[in-house]
Subunit: 102 residues, 2 copies
Amino acid sequence: MIVTFVHVWVKPDNINDFILASTENHQSSIEEAGNLRFDLLQDANDPAKFVIYEAYESDAAAAAHKETAHYNKWRATVADWMAKPRIGEKHIIIAPTEKSQW
Amino acid sequence: MIVTFVHVWVKPDNINDFILASTENHQSSIEEAGNLRFDLLQDANDPAKFVIYEAYESDAAAAAHKETAHYNKWRATVADWMAKPRIGEKHIIIAPTEKSQW
């Protein structure tokens, strides 16, 4: 299992657009076979800063996400709304260790 | 519902100690009535950097965590192992919106 934090900085005029497009992407992503979580979070102190908390059962499952139609639609849709490039931070899961707890 | 990322920088000699103490704290924290998640994560590129991903059903539930015996034991236990002060980042949850999905 692996967790990636995807940090996203959105242009202020596109915050609502980003929330709508990303909620749609969330709904499709949690249906992927290898997905464990796909939480969409907004920084409480900066409404233009978001984090997507992506947990997958393997590196292969995380890579497969980027081949899906919904990911590629989202990527193209949000491209012009980015204030700067996204940053992904990979993490090793210490706890919980049971897949059923994800 | 609210999510806080707690960023933790540990002295290199205390990484294993921190993992043991924090896994014990994880086990007790997920039993709290208002807790939704308490994921313990290690940066894939820096074994001395951790994130605790804490989701609570309310600000009150998050505050109550800091009154528990297990939190205060953990806090005292890890105090000398910190390389620098912890940073907490509060986040608003956009998705999933259903408590049952947490």
